[in-house]
């Protein structure tokens, strides 16, 4: 049996809003939301805690948010969120190398080797992020990733404050089961609204219900997922913190638009930009991919993915874009409204890309790509654009304003 670990989960509180407060301190304590304006059918990307009191939530149409909270101030995306996120990661890296970032505003930290109580370590990290970066955060701690993440959410819910929750909740070893028992099934990681409904329809409302039902009964009802349910409900999760995140398996970038897009030109421009981001991540990691996946969310939230696998691996932007565009054009009807677009690369391999006889013999494509990367490093992405992007200049964000493609806070 392995020694028990101490894992912290960190969540930056209303991250986009917190960054906007740094930019404009007068927003502090105000009900406001980051996102598109109601005139543009915008949606809430992130909202302040003062706004949450009125029932405003992320992903809600801005019009509805304004009806709930008439005094709501709407702040448009200023971007630059990615650079704040990076600063947090740099700060955490100084604490321990065992940091696994899971999204722009969330990560796991394995602090087993730090000789201090988990609560102290968590408070110390929280204070440094607040003092040095002026960003509020909440942390959960436990012996597993699963329970740590749930602890963060429970801690936030329990925080009796109108402002930033700044919560820290540690579940001591051995108390996982008891901690989870009273929580509703939807508190569990991996149980979405649909699955929650299915479980509730069978009378399974709390994690205690799942704990009591036992492995066999759950497998009989839900197949192998049932086994996972039981383990997770009991707080059993063997996954360790993997520094570098899931980079070893896939690389993806996606963007949720503040307003749905429906013009081919703009959508293609976004696909191109996402393909370039994926391509750059591949090249930075010395990887090639064989599979390209696109993710599309329509205005009615229905989400589809489409993928294609190449015979040979690639790390070139235009190969990724060509594949992504073909997938997109096959899946999209002209005029159809798109809420989210994503491009992903998988079947990764570190080097060893098989070259083809039909490639230009002098390896021209790779030399052009390397030259472009160098230019982008020196002058920023705004100086080196493909012809297609130039047509969409009004739309494509400048390099330092890269937030439009990042995930919602």
């Amino acid at each position: 049996m392995t020694e028990s670990r101490t894992i912290l989960h960190l969540d930056l509180d209303a991250f986009f809003c917190a960054v906007e407060v740094i930019r404009d301190p007068s927003l502090e304590g105000q009900p406001f939301a980051v996102g598109g304006t109601p005139e543009d059918r915008g949606v809430v990307a992130s909202c302040s805690y003062a706004a949450r009191k009125f029932g405003v939530r992320s992903a809600m149409p801005m019009g509805q948010a304004l009806r709930l909270c008439p005094g709501l101030k709407v702040v448009s995306h200023h971007g630059g969120y990615g650079s704040y996120s990076k600063k947090v990661m740099v700060l955490l890296d100084a604490v321990t190398p065992y940091v696994e970032q899971i999204s722009i505003d969330e990560c796991f930290i394995d602090v087993t080797d730090i000789d201090a109580p988990a609560n102290t370590v968590a408070r110390r990290i929280q204070r440094r992020i607040q003092d040095e970066l002026r960003l509020p955060s909440s942390l959960g701690g436990a012996t597993s990733k699963l329970v740590a993440k749930i602890a963060t959410n429970v801690g936030k819910d329990r925080a009796q404050t109108d402002g930033w929750p700044n919560a820290v909740l540690i579940v001591p070893p051995g108390e996982e089961r008891a901690f989870l028992a009273p929580l509703p099934v939807r508190a569990m990681w991996g149980v979405g609204p649909k699955m929650a409904e299915r479980l509730e329809a069978q009378g399974i409302r709390t994690l205690a219900d799942l704990q009591c039902l036992g492995d066999d009964a759950l497998v009989a009802r839900f197949g192998s997922t049932g086994r996972k349910f039981h383990a997770h409900a009991c707080g059993i999760d063997e996954r360790g913190v993997e520094p570098g995140g899931e980079a070893a398996k896939s690389i993806s970038h996606e963007t949720t638009f503040a307003e749905d897009l429906h013009e081919a030109g703009r959508l293609h421009a976004v696909l191109l930009r996402l393909s370039q981001l994926v391509g750059r991540s591949l090249r930075d990691g010395g990887l090639t991919c064989r599979t390209v996946t696109i993710k599309l969310r329509w205005s009615d939230f229905k989400t589809i993915t489409r993928r294609v696998t190449f015979r040979d691996g690639t790390d070139l932007d235009h190969d990724l874009y060509r594949a992504a565009k073909r997938l997109f054009d096959n899946a999209w009807q002209p005029g159809q409204r798109v809420r989210l677009l994503g491009v992903g690369a998988s079947q990764l391999s570190d080097g060893g890309q098989q070259l083809s006889l039909w490639q230009s013999g002098d390896d021209r494509d790779h030399r052009i790509q390397a030259a472009l990367d160098t230019l982008r490093d020196r002058f920023g992405g705004g100086k080196t654009r493909w012809g297609q992007e130039l047509n969409q200049r009004g739309f494509v964000a400048e390099e330092d304003d890269d937030a439009w493609w990042e995930a919602d806070a």
Binding site: R311, D350, G351, L355
Partner: protein, 396 residues
């Protein structure tokens, strides 16, 4: 229909056609063998609609007629019988296999009428290539054709998005015949000069599906002698004689028809580099086993083996992060150019090395990201075997 056939002879006929019977087909009758008995003789046929084969079987026709029998069961039954005389009788919806004219046992199989069997090509109208005398008169023998097939067919592409690469290009020119296959990662070309009698040569070309070539190769290595190839517009016909029965008055013949792949083939000459000036000579019997060993620890995705060329020395290495291991071997070689490192898919490299008979091979290289040429140093008179292999891009 009633025919009396020696069991051994029937087994030979079934074996010649059985491989062509598709294991799964939308047309159920294709899983049957067509048995046709006429005063001219007995023939067994099979087809998958792309390839058809007709094999003559010697025997006594007591009652002419045709029927079709389920191929696999027919084959299993006949194979299990001892060597004796078998009588095959077809009546309405059944075929009876009688041991010693029904004295010792009978096997009855449901049959499908011969009329339901697709019509097979009979003759090919087009240039013909005759293989009578083989090497003795400077022509092409069936054995050499088999050699050409086995040295090229492995490189045929399986990628169905470029159908023209799914076959071997077979060119017959004045004084020379060539086979080429490529899948975009490697390209092999084998040509042989022909010095057949004036006027007897054909000038033609065809893109031949590998399945047909492999079957011809199997028949030739099984002892059948290639007599003739006829190049039609859409079909190619191979005519062979089973030499075991060849006793002077003509053995039973086998005719294999294959549909051709529509061209044109890629302009392969264009991708064969002409400026590869770095030459590395190495012993095949040392290199091939070393590549095999080192590749045990290569990445299971790329099968990358790194070849580091230094002064008269070659170092092979591989490593795999998934397995967590690495391998290295040094070999003597003749190389006097600048040091360089190049990566190859070990499987592709071995595919080539295993088909080179010469113990010394030469790698003609230019740089780490362009095609390398691998050739045997010693080749038979008039033969030219060239293998092109694209490298793997080495990770930094």
């Amino acid at each position: 229909m009633k025919a009396v056939i020696e069991r051994e002879e029937l087994v030979r006929g079934i074996q010649a056609v059985l491989d062509i019977v598709p294991s799964k087909s939308t047309l159920p009758v294709l899983s049957n063998i067509l048995v046709h008995a006429s005063p001219d003789g007995i023939e067994l046929s099979a087809t998958d609609l792309d390839i058809s084969i007709v094999c003559g079987v010697s025997g006594k026709v007591e009652e002419p007629g045709s029927t079709t029998v389920p191929a696999r069961k027919f084959s299993e039954i006949v194979r299990e019988l001892p060597d004796e005389t078998i009588t095959v009788v077809a009546e309405e919806n059944k075929v009876t296999i009688e041991r010693q004219a029904g004295l010792e046992g009978t096997y009855v199989l449901m049959s499908v009428p011969a009329e339901d069997f697709p019509e097979l090509p009979v003759e090919i109208d087009g240039p013909e290539m005759n293989f009578g005398g083989g090497d003795e008169d400077g022509g092409l023998s069936g054995d050499l054709l088999g050699d050409m097939i086995s040295k090229t067919v492995f490189a045929v592409s399986r990628d169905e998005t470029r159908p023209v690469l799914n076959g071997v290009l077979w060119q017959v020119r004045e004084g020379r015949t060539t086979m080429v296959a490529t899948d975009g990662h490697r390209l092999v070309k084998f040509s042989k000069t022909l010095q057949g009698p004036e006027g007897k040569q054909v000038v033609t070309e065809a893109i031949v599906p590998p399945r047909a070539l492999n079957h011809v190769l199997k028949l030739v290595s099984g002892g059948s002698r290639l007599q003739k190839v006829a190049f039609g517009q859409n079909h190619l016909m191979f005519e062979l004689i089973d030499s075991e029965d060849f006793d002077g008055d003509g053995g039973e013949d086998i005719r294999l028809f294959t549909r051709l792949i529509e061209g044109p083939y890629v302009d392969y000459e264009q991708v064969i580099p002409t400026g590869n000036s770095k030459r590395m000579y190495i012993t095949n019997s040392a290199l091939a086993p070393a590549v095999r060993r080192v590749s045990i620890l290569a990445s299971s995705q790329t099968h990358q083996v790194r070849i580091e060329l230094g002064q008269n020395q070659v170092e092979l290495s591989a490593n795999s992060q998934e397995i967590g291991g690495e391998a290295k071997e040094s070999l003597d070689a003749r190389y006097e150019e600048d040091a360089m490192a190049i990566g190859y898919n070990a499987g592709y490299l071995l595919d080539i090395l295993r088909r080179i008979e010469s113990d010394e091979v030469v790698f003609e290289l230019d740089c780490a990201v362009t095609a390398g040429i691998i050739r045997p140093v010693d080749q038979a008179e008039g033969e030219d075997y060239l293998c092109l292999l694209m490298p793997l891009r080495l990770s930094e």
